[in-house]
């Protein structure tokens, strides 16, 4: 089963330059996601489009940062948690969308590497 889902990534423009050039060439996406709890997943799919971010995206990033801070605080002391979260929001930025085709479990331990969807 392939979930018909589209994911949008917000990224800084400098780092995105390389990613975008690779995506233009290859079009295939692998996105690693690790939660503070050590749960990890990988989304694989196809590149759709990109655009510069705007005010609305910045508001989304702030919301994301708040949620992330709450989670990261469970694992790291405050002096690491706050600046670490800061590393995940950019202005200006680039929004990259891709269609998810497969999801893999990557949490170390039993079932690591298994395809979930």
């Amino acid at each position: 089963m392939i979930p018909d889902r589209v994911v949008e990534l917000l990224h800084g423009p400098a780092l995105s330059a390389r990613i975008l050039s690779d995506l233009e060439n290859n079009g295939r996406v692998a996105l690693g996601i690790t939660l503070a709890s050590h749960e990890a997943y990988q989304l694989k799919g196809r590149y759709l489009a990109s655009r510069p971010t705007g005010d609305e995206d910045i508001a989304r990033q702030e919301t994301y940062q708040r949620k992330m801070l709450a989670a990261v605080r469970q694992v790291y002391p405050e002096e690491i948690a706050r600046p670490l979260v800061l590393g995940f929001a950019y202005r200006p930025g680039v929004a990259i969308t891709f269609r998810v085709e497969e999801i893999f479990l990557q949490t170390p331990g039993p079932g690591a590497g298994n395809k979930m969807a």
Partner: protein
């Protein structure tokens, strides 16, 4: 002078996990979290090979890899382009990684389960510091929760 700047060393102590991206022979990318990218010398880093996984398989087919590391001192992050060079099963680098893995595994009761098979040595091809402007997090009123 090697390619890795001194300031990157704190990012290679495993304080903040890193990610590694590889591609299989047919160009299918794979992204995976790794607990530590080890500093070997100004031109080389090592990744631990404990379990045979997609990353290990890919670099043996297609030696190029990209890792992303974050410094817990400055929170700067870097992209490193790597090329898989060889695997070591003895010597100072292997020993250092093996000791570290054994030390922690023995504390948690996983000695023998988490075991270093080899230290995979990669040559660093390029280092790119992330210079993108990050958005300062607005002061959040909620205090840190109980830990």
């Amino acid at each position: 002078m090697g390619i890795l700047p001194d300031e990157i060393q704190p990012a290679m102590q495993g304080v903040i996990p890193s990610h590694v991206v590889t591609c299989s022979g047919d160009g299918t990318p794979n992204a995976s979290a790794i607990s530590q990218v080890y500093y070997v010398d100004p031109d080389h880093v090592a990744l631990s090979h404990q379990f045979f996984n997609k990353t290990i398989r890919n670099v043996r087919e297609n030696p190029r890899a990209l890792v992303w590391v974050i410094s817990p001192a400055t929170f700067d992050s870097w992209d490193l382009e790597l090329e898989y060079d060889h695997s070591e099963t003895s010597g100072p680098v292997f020993e250092a990684l093996d000791m570290q893995i054994e030390a922690i595994a023995s504390i948690v009761g996983l000695k023998g389960i988490f075991k270093l098979r080899s230290a995979d040595i990669y040559r660093v091809i390029s280092v790119t510091k992330n210079v993108d402007e990050r958005i300062p997090l607005p002061e959040i009123d909620d205090p840190p929760g109980p830990r």
